[in-house]
């Protein structure tokens, strides 16, 4: 686990980015039919009128976006555009650029997903640790099946149940959306409480489902740590229960738990996206859902690319942060 480790992880990041961009570029071109042609024919069908010769319109559009050039050239153009953060235009509400749409949705997702995942990870890990700790009263063990149930159900299904119970039946929370209707968002108390009020249910469903999974994972790790010799010596030293639990138990069980976080990031993000769909929460997930409905191909490509890149970057950052919590991993050649 030395400098070689860092270089290997960075190489992995680069490979992932290359693959993501390539996959993103190729898949739409593999499938039969031309997205633009479909979009135009769909427009024609819905608008009912006779709108001239579709094929001519398609040719003009393809020339405009360089789609008539040889594949390799298009690939290079795609990369060049990416460098300028230009993800092309949204087919659905042209001339909006994909990059701008994503930029608008990103903060909502980062806020909702980032916060609730961290909360779920923190609370879940501590509860899971307590569950396995012999010091905890026996009664707490009843929580295990509850956590099992929670971790079994996919995030967004929990979301549906919460919407029905807390929003429709008890009317405690709004049933969807990110902020009160018709409110211009400013940094004032009203908007902030509005946002929090709307984010409550989606966040709750991510947290509840997340807590179950993290608690069970941590419980398993604490059980294996309990068998270690340094716990026996810590007890032999007469240390207070709390210190053993935190500095000897949790602190060591945290290491594999962070690795699991890094490995399951993809799964966590996927779940959260679907929560946004259920709550029509204005984040990237909901944008993706709308883009799928409207067959807005370039928007879909942009969002998918962003997801892959952001997760790969986060995993790389976690790998860099890891040595801070595990002294055995050292970059400098000791």
């Amino acid at each position: 686990m030395t400098l070689e480790y860092v270089v290997r992880r960075f190489a992995l990041l680069v490979v992932v980015l290359l693959l993501a961009v390539t996959v993103n570029f190729i898949i739409p071109r593999l499938t039969p039919g031309d997205p633009i042609e479909q979009k135009l024919s769909q427009l024609v069908a819905t608008s009912g009128g006779q709108v001239g010769d579709i094929t001519a319109m398609v040719q003009a559009y393809r020339a405009r976006f360089g789609l008539d050039q040889p594949l390799l050239r298009q690939y290079v153009n795609y990369w060049v555009a990416l460098m300028h953060l230009d993800l092309g235009f949204s087919l659905d509400n042209f001339p909006e650029r994909v990059a701008d749409a994503i930029a608008a949705a990103l903060p909502w997702t980062v806020g909702l997903l980032g916060l609730s995942t961290l909360i779920a990870f923190g609370i879940g890990s501590i509860l899971g640790g307590l569950l396995a700790w012999p010091g905890t009263p026996r009664g707490a063990r009843v929580a295990i099946p509850v956590f099992m149930l929670l971790s079994a159900v996919p995030y967004f299904l929990l979301g549906i149940v919460l919407v029905f119970l807390l929003a429709i039946k008890l009317k405690l929370f709004p049933a969807g959306g990110g902020y009160p209707f018709g409110v211009i968002l400013r940094f004032d108390l009203a908007s902030i409480t509005g946002i929090i009020h709307h984010a409550a249910l989606p966040a709750l469903s991510i947290i509840l489902a997340g807590i179950g999974a993290w608690a069970l994972a941590m419980r398993g790790m604490i059980i294996s740590v309990l068998g270690e010799d340094y716990i026996t010596l810590a007890e032999a030293k007469g240390l207070p229960e709390r210190r053993i639990f935190v500095w000897y138990g949790l602190r060591n069980a945290l290491l594999p738990q962070v690795t699991t976080l890094a490995l399951t990031l993809g799964h966590v993000v996927s779940g959260a996206i679907l929560v946004e769909v259920i709550f029509s929460y204005p984040g990237i997930g909901f944008k993706l859902y709308q883009a799928i409905l409207a067959k807005d191909y370039f928007m879909i490509q942009g969002i998918v690319l962003l997801l892959i890149v952001s997760i790969a970057l986060t995993m790389f950052l976690l790998d860099l942060v890891y040595p801070l919590i595990d002294p055995r991993i050292v970059y400098r050649r000791r």
């Binding site: 010799d229 010596l233 810590a234 030293k237 602190r251 060591n252 919590i325 002294p327 055995r328």
Partner: protein
């Protein structure tokens, strides 16, 4: 002659496994005088380590201390509440663990692991003079002061065991229990670590219980030795006498099977299988493998009796 520092009376420990109750320690009694080095020798499955851990009440499920008393001075450790026991641990009776390799918390610096031991019992000490005290402890076990800023993975096996010794003497306890402290170390480092333990113990005036299977090591270090077999003490006495003139047939075979540098190519072992602790043989547990077995042996269990001054044995021959 002041009374014994520690006296163990009829200690019993059993592990409740799905296959039944394994009687790991089945009525062990011995006493420890001040400053004395007492060796608890036995092969695997004899119950020696379980006895050591039971003294510190570190037996975990499915193990349970079933009975007996452990008197440190005049307090019975087995009767204390968990809170009271926690205060006694390392302050009165401390432990040098067997697997030094992973007995130190891998994510904490050596200083923090010594500091929390001291702070758990002596909350007045803090900051500067805590560091000087820790530095002194490390030097007392032959380590450089700045080892305290290192993490366990940066130390060799021998150095880690020395840190454990420093921990064990940090609160000046009356009794140190060393559970096979050097079985994982190479022979050269083993001697250095044992001599360090001996010097630290002598300077502290504490008594030591050395648990182990290496009879040679016992001969070089302890004053008195107790030999365990199938969860019971079968012989106790001054180490020189026991090795020169072993009384119990098992001790005789055990000492004979220890290879030495005299007789070459001649091997003496003990035939038969180690006894099952789930259903130990009736009467004397060694009778199925004992060359001197006679009709009484499989019938009733011999008690540990003092057959000669200072020489205890549990065998019907005497």
């Amino acid at each position: 002659m002041t009374g014994p520092v520690l006296s163990v009376e009829a200690l019993r420990v059993a592990y409740h496994t799905p296959a039944g109750a394994v009687r790991a320690v089945d009525g062990v009694s011995f006493s420890l005088r001040e400053g004395e080095r007492f060796g608890l020798a036995g092969e695997s499955g004899s119950g020696k380590s379980t006895t050591a851990l039971a003294l510190m009440r570190l037996i975990k499920a499915p193990g349970r201390i079933e009975g007996g008393r452990v008197l440190l001075g005049d307090t019975d450790l087995l009767a204390l509440t968990d809170r009271e026991m926690r205060r006694v641990r390392f302050a009165q009776i401390s432990l040098v663990p067997q697997g030094a390799m992973n007995s130190l918390n891998p994510v904490l610096r050596i200083r923090d692991q010594l500091a929390d031991t001291i702070a758990a019992h002596d909350t007045r000490v803090s900051g500067g003079d805590l560091d000087t005290r820790i530095g002194g402890l490390l030097e007392a076990v032959g380590l450089d002061r700045d080892v305290m800023w290192m993490h366990p993975h940066e130390l060799s096996g021998g150095m880690k065991q020395r840190v454990c010794i420093a921990m064990a003497i940090s609160l000046r306890p009356k009794v140190i229990v060393a559970d096979e402290p050097t079985s994982a170390l190479d022979v050269v480092v083993q001697r250095q670590v044992i001599e360090t333990l001996g010097a630290a113990q002598r300077r502290l005036g504490a008594s030591i219980i050395l648990v182990g299977h290496d009879v040679g090591l016992m001969a070089r270090f302890v004053d008195r030795i107790g030999v365990m077999y199938a969860g019971r003490l079968v012989e106790v006495g001054p180490v020189g006498d026991v090795i020169a003139d072993p009384l119990h047939p098992y001790t005789q075979l055990l000492i004979a099977s220890v290879p030495d540098l005299e007789s070459k190519g001649v091997f003496k072992g003990i035939s038969g299988l180690t006894p099952s602790l789930l259903s130990p043989p009736p009467g004397c547990p060694f009778h199925p493998r004992c060359p001197k077995v006679f009709e009484r042996c499989p019938v009733d269990e011999p008690a540990l009796r003092e057959v000669k001054p200072g020489r205890w044995v549990s065998c019907h021959l005497y």
